[in-house]
């Protein structure tokens, strides 16, 4: 029997128990707080305390594990051999994030701290004789859901429809109600939300630093993180809320767009999106239900995220090498109504319409360049020229300009600004301005 056939037993709803033996022949038996599936013949256990189990396996690496299937009560006994302890890296971070979820579930956040991930080889798996319940049919066939999701992604023609296809697949193929896609800033230090569903506020444009919360840790370590129970420690909004509470004005602007998220999230899964070895962003789903996402859900979303990553890469290159001719310059619509003052702060490229904050950073710089060009009589633009525009200063050649434009487009819509971005073709768009604008540049050194 392969370990992946019984990995539902590792999900922690019914804790596993392990027997070990001291060199003097004294057996010991202890409950395990966390078991992590590695592959068909390896698993890892959390090392939190220097307890009897720890002493025993260091001296005598043989162990025996008793597992219970959470749906059928079938019992399995596994013969294990201790191999090594990892104290950093993806496995360790994944387990640390999960442990935070488990610890907060049992009210022991202060007590549970991961010291290491003990890796074991599974030498044999035996089903214990008994009368388990018949397995109930799964909520749905996840392989069929992956296939359908894959077809949706493959049908997308550009980044925007790709993101829509991803969210539609999560909603309709996976019955996931709350999800978001974040992309990595070209500078590689933070993620920004570019699409979401199931939240009162879309949170598009909100930022999460690398290493912060479930999403930030999944991105930094390049590993999926799945948490089955509610956790406060890895709440991605935590640092942001704290900054709001105690920060100065500059910090407040960082948080002007709060990240979306469920207040009572009880299951979370963050999956890195990459193309080849390069991290592009994170796909994140959550649920108010405990134990909503299992190993199979994780496998399914990792598979879809891989395809999403390849497609994002493809569209990024395509949008900027697009050879479509520029559409004939249309007559600019007449603008009417009172003049709106738009301020741009060079300090952080933040842009305000009247007193309303809209966006900052790269997207702010893009908007400001567009507004200046519009003032000079232009309204049609190409992605490629923006990448080369010295006013915009993209953090990195790999930065996803298309994603910045999508988030800018969304922010303008959500804030009901008097400016809109309309796509006119592959790699091309038009800036529509509905009110007379007065553009005010505030030089560096003056904070908004």
């Amino acid at each position: 029997m392969n370990l992946d056939a019984i990995r539902d037993c590792l999900d922690g709803s019914i804790p596993g128990v392990m027997a070990t033996c001291a060199p003097d022949g004294t057996p010991n038996v202890a409950y395990l707080s966390q078991i992590e599936y590695l592959d068909g013949s390896h698993l890892a256990l959390s090392f939190q305390f220097f307890n009897k189990t720890r002493h025993n396996i260091l001296a005598n690496p043989q162990a025996r594990l008793l597992l219970i299937h959470p749906q059928t009560a079938a019992m399995y006994r596994l013969s294990l051999r201790y191999l090594r302890t990892e104290t950093e890296g993806p496995l360790f971070e994944r387990m640390r994030a999960k442990l935070a979820g488990i610890a907060s579930h049992v009210g022991m956040s202060e007590v549970f701290r991961l010291k290491g991930s003990d890796v074991y080889h599974v030498q044999a798996i035996e089903q214990v004789p008994g009368r388990p319940l018949p397995p109930s049919p799964p909520r749905r066939n996840l392989l069929a859901a992956v296939r359908h999701g894959t077809q949706r992604l493959a049908a997308a023609a550009d980044l925007e429809s790709l993101l829509e296809a991803m969210l539609a697949s999560l909603r309709e193929d996976f019955e996931v109600r709350h999800a978001m896609v974040l992309l990595l800033d070209g500078g590689g230090r933070k993620l920004f939300t570019v699409a979401s569903c199931g939240y009162e506020q879309s949170g598009i444009g909100s930022e999460i630093p690398l290493g912060e919360g479930v999403i930030g840790v999944a991105a930094r370590e390049g590993t999926p993180i799945r948490i089955a129970h509610m956790t406060s420690e890895y709440a991605y909004g935590r640092a942001i809320r704290e900054a709001v509470a105690q920060g100065d004005e500059a910090d407040r602007l960082e948080t002007a767009i709060p990240p979306p998220g469920l207040a009572e999230s009880r299951s979370q899964l963050a999956v890195p999106i990459s193309a080849g070895r390069r991290l592009l962003g994170v796909l994140y789903v959550e649920s108010p239900q405990d134990l909503r996402f299992g190993y199979d859900d994780e496998d399914a979303l990792v598979t879809l995220a891989a395809q999403l990553g390849l497609a994002i890469n493809l569209f990024r290159d395509a949008a900027e090498s697009a050879a479509e001719p520029a559409p004939a310059q249309q007559r600019r619509r007449r603008v009417a109504g009172p003049t709106v003052t738009v301020r741009h702060y060079a300090e952080n490229d933040s842009v305000f319409f009247g007193d309303d904050y809209l966006i900052k950073g790269v997207a702010g710089a893009i908007l400001w360049a567009l507004l200046r060009d519009h003032e000079a009589g232009r309204s049609s633009f190409a992605n490629r020229e923006l990448r080369l525009d010295p006013r915009i200063r993209l953090p990195d050649i790999s930065d996803n300009l298309e994603a910045r434009l999508i988030l800018l487009q969304w922010r303008l819509l959500e804030r009901e600004a008097c400016v809109r971005i309309e796509k006119t073709g592959r790699g091309r768009f038009r800036l529509c301005v509905e009110r007379p604008l007065q553009l005010v540049d505030v030089p560096a050194g003056t904070r908004p």
């Binding site: 128990v17 033996c21 057996p27 010991n28 202890a30 305390f49 307890n51 008793l66 059928t72 049992v106």
Partner: protein
């Protein structure tokens, strides 16, 4: 005397019971037990075990008599471990079967408190009572096993 009256109430109550032994090469073995009885003088502990689930464990106990047993409350995580080195195995008697039936009923209620369905709890504790066995031993040492830094502390020692 290792156990006091309160310990006896705990180990005889609605707690999960896991028994571990080891073979001549110190390779461990374990099984879930289905109830516990402590003698009136608190010197001897009996555990009820499904024979079909415990052949290897019984072989180990017959050879060296050494065992460890952990008792855990599913709802509070309170946990106690007993160790012994004189385990013996016998067939269950009718009075033991009544004890096991009462244990199952108490466990169904206890597991229900943490959201485990009656069907699942009954499946977990199902077995062939015609071949039920009794593992008896003298507790030589007891340890606090509630998860946390104190796990493994001998009873009576300062935390």
């Amino acid at each position: 005397m290792v156990l006091d009256a309160e310990h006896v109430r705990f180990v005889e109550g609605a707690v999960s019971i896991i028994v571990a032994a080891r073979d001549a090469a110190n390779a461990p073995e374990l099984v879930r037990a289905q109830g516990c009885r402590v003698s009136r003088d608190r010197g001897r502990v009996q555990l009820f075990v499904q024979s079909a689930q415990a052949q290897a464990l019984f072989d180990d106990l017959r050879r060296n008599g050494r065992l460890a047993v952990v008792f855990t409350s599913p709802s509070t995580h309170r946990s106690l471990q007993l160790k012994g080195d004189d385990a013996s195995i016998a067939r269950a008697r009718p009075a033991d079967l009544a004890r096991v039936a009462a244990y199952r009923a108490a466990m169904v209620a206890e597991l229900g408190r943490i959201g485990i369905s009656e069907a699942l709890a009954r499946a977990l504790l199902a077995g062939d009572d015609a071949t039920l066995s009794v593992v008896a031993f003298t507790p030589a040492a007891a340890f606090v096993q509630t998860p946390g830094p104190d796990a493994g502390r001998p009873l009576g020692a300062a935390p």
